[in-house]
Amino acid sequence: MRRISYAEAINEALHQIIAKDTRVFLIGQGVTSPWYVGSTTMGLIDRFGPKRIVDTPTSENGITGVALGSALAGMHPILCYPRMDFMYLAMDQIANHIANWHYMFGGQLSAPVTLWAIINRGGEQAAQHSQATQAFFMHIPGLQVVTPSTPYDAKGLLVACAEEDNPVVFIDDRWLYQHVGEVPEELYSVPIGKGIVRREGKDVTVVATSYMVYEAIKASEDLEKERIDVEVMDLRSLKPLDKNLLFTSVKKTGKLVIVDGGWKTCGVSAEISARIAENDVFRSLRTPIIRVSLPDTPAPASLALEKIYYPNAEKIIWAVRKILEM
């Protein structure tokens, strides 16, 4: 099959879904800029014009409300936040308005908004240009959260979001943009809420999403040399969470390492741990769970600190070895 990069897959998804569905349009700060969103929006403004590719002032809260209003009136906006740190400015419209809208009015209108949130970290960008806040959005009823790791899923899940009748937070990571993988040329979608086993194994389950899946696979390849057989699971969606797939794997291996690119406290790994702990699958665990995530610390600038701040294959290898010693 044809192989393209993650960034190209997003670009292709946008081209195809905007061409196919007159309800879909792209809005947000920098969507016509050559640098804000990488190469993901290339060619869109020339092809579709300013009516459907709407570059905006920063005004994150206002523009998020605008996207909601357009959705109520029948559109399916894809709203881009080139750095998800800036979504804090829009939390009122996201949490109070978009997420509540369908429920608060007894199920009258829904809010089919895709909130495209880009994690853009590293490079000594420090605390306000490095955050991965997926857990915030998981916490809010009425929102769904997807975190594709492969070019195939990036395209398929973005299309699924645009076709969906409800709000979804689509989170990608600039560290993934150059990764290459097989992507069909035609339009297709990947179902929201379905995880996938990336590598089968019997000794330990490593569950991850987004960029952390690559680090987990890298770790599993190194561990294979030590005859440690790791099962790598990519949840793909954080909400709804494919807990049955997770439970099946945990039942098989009895050991679980959770890897997440966000903070530990009340984070993705905390939620997954809790799902295991409150289910009968808990009895299958032969050791405590280990979590590999960010420490509860803001992102530092210095490269020297960045190197030890972010989770990586090395930390996953350490965690797997540790859990097998338990």
């Binding site: 709407v54 809260n61 206002g62 523009i63 209003g69 608060m104 007894g106 009258q108 829904s110 409800n166």
Partner: protein
């Protein structure tokens, strides 16, 4: 009030519209009076926080009477008047205040989250200024869809304390969107006066900063509201961009609940008396009677008929079931 003087005389408003506006205002008044009565009763039939619209009826009525059914309005925590003026069902509104299953929001919204998408009121927000950008977004959609519908954002003077209102004015004017901003300046944001909260209390003048037309009007004169709204709506529909209307008005009750709150020392009895002497319903009633557009008998009939409808709404609300356990988890997502 110089801007106000420039308003066109009301004489060219068709008689049937004047009469309809009178009925609409009395409808809101009688509904709200009945709600206040229920709120004051020890039976506690209504406990959802109600922000009553009494005294401000001319604003919602004047604006909504100049709209088409396929135009949209977005409302606030003080939502009952907008809902009724846009043609919302009395029974569904009363049942929502009772938080019953037959309420317009199925008992999940309460007083501050009133909506009826089929009449063009897709929602009301209890977050101050919250629906202003959403109204702008609906206008953006209408323009993308090549529809000639327009969208109205109702908000209070307190919404001008919120940054999102300025983001919205800027974007709407930048893109020349078909939206009308209607600020109901009732002189108070909860307990604080406009003078205590806005460095420049001339709200209509803020329009100039965004390159749009702003106008201050007497919000207690429904005929003036109608004329100014009609013009702003026509401009929006014609692609000339948004207008900011500042309608000067006053709420007779406190920020929330069924009492005037004079004992709290936040405003004076004289101030309230002044505004009650400028009762928007009396202003139109006097005009209609003086011009022979309505007889006293007709007026009494209108009042009686509306009172009966309000009683039917109370009965409907009382008899409606409460939402049950199955409803709790339903409607989080559209299925």
């Amino acid at each position: 009030m110089k801007e106000e003087e420039k308003n066109l005389p009301p004489s060219d408003i068709p008689q049937d519209i004047l009469r309809k506006m009178y009925v609409a205002m009395v409808n809101i008044r009688k509904f709200e009076e009945r709600v206040a009565e229920i709120l004051r009763s020890p039976k506690k039939e209504i406990t959802t926080p109600c922000h009553l619209y009494i005294g401000e009826e001319a604003v919602a009525t004047g604006v909504c009477s100049a709209l088409r059914k396929d135009d949209w309005v977005f409302s606030t925590h003080r939502s009952h008047g907008h809902f009724l003026a846009k043609g919302g069902d009395l029974k569904a509104l009363m049942a929502e205040l009772y938080c019953k299953k037959r309420g317009c929001s199925k008992g999940k919204g309460g007083s501050m989250h009133i909506a009826s998408s089929d009449i063009g009121l897709p929602g009301s927000s209890a977050i101050v200024g919250g629906t202003i950008p959403i109204a702008v977004g609906a206008a953006l959609a209408f323009s993308m869809q090549d529809k000639d519908s327009i969208s109205v954002a109702f908000f209070g003077d307190g919404a001008l304390h919120e940054g999102v209102s300025y983001e919205s004015l800027n974007f709407a004017s930048l893109k020349k969107l078909p939206v009308v901003f209607v600020c109901e300046n009732n002189l108070y944001c909860t307990h604080l006066s406009v003078a205590a909260t806005l460095a420049n209390p001339n709200i209509y003048k803020k329009a100039e900063a965004f390159g749009m037309h702003g106008i201050r009007i007497d919000g207690n004169n429904v005929m003036k509201v109608f004329k100014v709204a009609e013009r702003a709506i026509a401009d929006a529909r014609a692609g000339k961009g948004p207008t900011l209307i500042e309608a000067m008005t006053y709420r007779w009750f406190g920020h929330v609940g069924p009492y005037d709150d004079l004992d709290k020392g936040l405003r004076s009895k004289e101030e309230l008396n002044y505004w009650m002497s400028r009762d928007p319903i009396k202003v139109l009633e006097k005009f209609l009677l003086e011009h022979g557009f309505m007889s006293e008998l007709e007026r009494d009939q209108i009042h009686k008929a509306i009172s009966e409808e309000v009683e039917k709404a109370v009965k409907f609300a009382r008899e409606s079931p409460y939402p049950d356990e199955n409803d709790l988890l339903h409607n989080v997502f559209k299925t």
